[in-house]
């Protein structure tokens, strides 16, 4: 009747403390999305600076974060990734969800002192993660 309708209309649509942008954020981007992170390592931490002369710092980078359920083209994931997520959610939770892992790497040049005192400049494949994917 008119009274209930008018009292209903007077109620605020959303609680005052409610933040609309926060609300929508959970749909737009997963909180800690799968992405590349830095980790600057100095070879002295591994006590390797006695034989690795250069580079001083080495940033192998790594992938960390949640994979969205429908990890499609955004991560360059194959369709298998979604199949695995569906199995995890609908059929058997012991099958793990897709994981956030490196997809591409770049090489690293290293200058080392060998045990016989000779010096070597070498280039190693796949030493720095450059792109992440959900698999």
């Amino acid at each position: 009747d008119q009274e209930t309708v008018s009292s209903e209309l007077k109620k605020p649509l959303v609680p005052a403390s409610f933040n609309l942008s926060e609300y929508f954020k959970q749909f737009l981007f997963p909180q800690n999305e799968c992405e590349l992170h830095d980790f600057r390592l100095s070879f002295s931490q591994l006590k390797w600076d006695i034989w690795i002369v250069a580079p001083r710092k080495y940033n192998p980078r790594y992938c960390k974060g949640d994979c969205p359920r429908a990890a499609g083209h955004r991560y360059g994931s194959p369709v298998h990734t979604m199949v695995q997520n569906v199995i995890h959610e609908k059929l058997d939770p012991s099958v793990p969800r897709s994981s956030c892992v490196p997809a591409k790497y770049s090489p690293l040049s290293v200058l080392t002192i060998e045990t016989d005192g000779s010096i070597a400049y070498k280039e190693y494949e796949d030493m720095i993660a450059t792109q992440c994917t959900c698999r």
Binding site: L46, K47, W48, I50, W51, V53, A54, P55, R56, K57, Y58, N59, S106, P107, L108, S109, V110, L111, T112, I113, E114, T115, D116, G117, S118, I119, A120, Y121, K122, E123, Y124, E125, I128
Partner: protein, 293 residues
């Protein structure tokens, strides 16, 4: 039932693996095939930092290789694309032994010959030699009158053991000419044609004797002190090997067409030796190809 028996198998093999020592699962590659970083990484994973004792390299050699590193890689260690895609490994060896041989003759400009022994054990079987140079580095930019020099280099066969039949010593002698210019920090003498067959046949100990005959612009008075040129050329050289590491861990650049093979990267096909002095840019072979061979 299949799944359960499969699980049983997996559990059994997991049990086996957990008992086995980690090392037995990852058989360390034998010396010839071990790649540089893999075994120290495994050592850190299993028993702490790689504390193998190391001989310290010569300061001049280390300075040269640091300069070469700066020419070929960024500060973060990313390989620059300015070097030839052919080699991904450069090794510098200093002689493990050297003896002065026949004295020189100041009048004719002949310097005493020096006997050198290089131990190339660190070259693995998967590293193929593409280019090799003898490197004379000057402690600071030595100013001396320009000089024309001939380098006489003899590679000697290892002493034959008494058991095997005596064989005429098979030594290679080559001469290479080059001109010194002012303010050089180092010169390189290309010995690829000599070393390639030896390294390819797994020879890891190279015994050679080197001597120079230099004619400077001003005639030397017999009583004159040794010229800086002479003192420089009597310091034992380093041996630089440009190699292609064919193992999976090494970085193999895709050969892009815009990389023209520069003559300095192709060992002399005529078997002759090219000696070209190079200035500051010695670490970048591109300049060398502009020098007269």
């Amino acid at each position: 039932s299949q799944a359960s028996s499969g699980e049983a198998q997996i559990a059994a093999s997991a049990a086996l693996e957990s008992e086995a020592q980690p090392w037995s699962l990852l058989q360390p590659l034998d010396e010839r095939h071990r790649s540089g970083l893999l075994s120290p990484l495994l050592k850190v994973l299993y028993d702490g930092p790689d504390g193998a004792p190391r001989l310290q390299p010569e300061a001049r050699a280390l300075r040269y290789m640091k300069r070469l590193y700066k020419a070929y890689a960024t500060k973060e260690g990313i390989p620059k694309s300015n070097r030839s895609p052919l080699y991904n490994t450069i090794r510098l060896f200093t002689p493990c032994a050297q003896h002065k041989q026949a004295p020189g003759d100041q009048a004719t400009g002949t310097l005493p010959s020096v006997d050198l022994l290089f131990n190339l054990d660190r070259v693995t079987a998967v590293e193929h030699l593409l280019k090799s140079v003898l490197l004379y580095t000057f402690s600071n930019s030595v100013a001396f009158p320009s000089a024309k020099c001939v380098c006489n280099l003899v590679i000697k066969e290892p002493e034959l053991s008494s058991k095997t039949l005596p064989k005429a010593p098979n030594s290679f002698t080559v001469n290479s000419q080059f001109e010194f210019r002012k303010k050089y920090k180092w010169i390189e003498i290309d010995v690829t044609a000599l070393l390639q067959p030896l390294v390819a046949s797994n020879r890891r100990s190279i015994h050679m004797s080197v001597n120079f005959t230099c004619l400077t612009a001003q005639p030397q008075r017999p009583s004159a002190q040794k010229s800086p040129l002479h003192t420089t050329l009597l310091v034992p050289p380093s041996l630089l090997l440009y190699l292609n590491d064919t193992s999976a861990e090494a970085y193999h650049r895709r050969y892009s067409h815009h990389h023209k093979r520069r003559p300095s990267q192709v060992p002399d096909q005529k078997g002759g030796l090219s000696a070209y002095p190079t200035g500051e840019e010695a670490a970048e072979p591109v300049r060398a190809s502009r020098h007269r061979r």
